[in-house]
Symmetry: C2
DNA sequence: ACACTAATGTAGCACTCGCTACACTCAGGG
DNA sequence: CCCTGAGTGTAGCGAGTGCTACATTAGTGT
């Protein structure tokens, strides 16, 4: 593993903790034991660095979802997805994803473009797990849209809501997903 | 209406269009036909300006929700809420709210503090409309949590999803809200 | 006419930003 | 032994940041 890959991993960890919005090369370099000069040498530009970081974080999060074994039923699939997304190893990745989505809200490049890519990967993984857990492929898209929106909204309010309240909402969401799947297959 | 109030309204419109994240006093002042010097004179500091802007936007959005007549049933209440939030007059307020929530995700002050305030007002208005539309007060909180999360998630993905897809998700959400309200009152 | 205050324009300070020019070290190959 | 090229440190550029000092204007009350 070359120096560049080491720096990419360390920079990703730093951004997962501190967020993208106030990111500045010099404090990042200090935390990594290097200099802004070196970050630009290895990654070319700040934007390219960020692209690498987002790809790294997203790969980590998506591969976690893909590794989920099929759940016994759509409702349980929703609960298992939530537990995976909030597991300590990737909850920061999910939070970063929400931050980037918000950055894309006002069309600020280069984020708006990369958001599309990350979103399509996430929706595909989400849909795949629902289908593997027994969802009818014809209704999986509808379920996925609802589950996606609700989970993202829960992450957005994460600093405000209690874990119990979120758990309760996820269980309600799971029942709603079951209901949609049943009405869709009827 | 004094000069300060004029500037506050115009600055709010500007931020509703451009977002908070890259906000800089000089471009804002140029768009408003004044100078950064004047903005600081009238508002004291950039943070105080932002606080005023957020209060203005939030008041606009909350008063729109409060003005909603009671809906015939919880499901319709959810649909009416969505239509109000996405109406052309305040859809930008909702978007700004989502952006500020994302800013609070990583605890960056002074946003993390103000997010709590905005969120409690929004949740109160949301719960009030559900109760006025027939929700059992004992289960209105649960419904409100689900509706809040899903609607915020839909706003987060607004640049990505089609309007029809969002409409479909809102209808599924409305049915889920009905189901929760019925199971809660049983 | 005079004083006082709100409002404004000009100029600039101290700072941070992403990024770059330039010189340097140090390993490996001819 | 010298050359090459990857990696690194120092220093700084030009632009932009929030914010301030100072002088000026315009309007009002006495």
């Amino acid at each position: 593993m070359g120096r560049r890959d080491e720096l990419a991993l360390a920079a990703t960890d730093y951004v997962l903790e501190h967020g993208l919005i106030g990111l500045s090369l010099r404090p990042l370099a200090d935390a990594l034991g290097t200099s802004d000069r070196m970050l630009l040498y290895h990654f070319g530009s700040k934007d390219d660095l960020i692209a690498t970081i987002l790809r790294t974080s997203n790969d980590r999060s998506i591969s976690r979802i893909r590794a989920l074994p099929a759940s016994p039923g759509i409702g349980q699939a929703v609960i298992d997805l939530w537990q995976a997304m909030t597991s300590s190893s990737i909850v920061a990745c999910s939070r970063l994803y929400v931050e980037v989505s918000a950055l894309g809200l006002f069309g600020s490049e280069p984020y708006a473009a990369v958001v599309r890519d990350l979103n399509s990967q996430w929706m595909a993984a989400l849909g795949a797990h629902l289908v593997a857990s027994g969802a009818d492929p014809s209704s999986a898209g509808r379920v996925a849209s609802l589950v996606d929106a609700t989970i993202m909204g829960l992450f957005l309010d994460m600093p405000l809501d209690s874990r119990k309240g979120q758990r309760r909402t996820v269980e309600d969401l799971a029942r709603a997903a079951e209901a949609i799947a049943q009405s869709g297959s009827a």
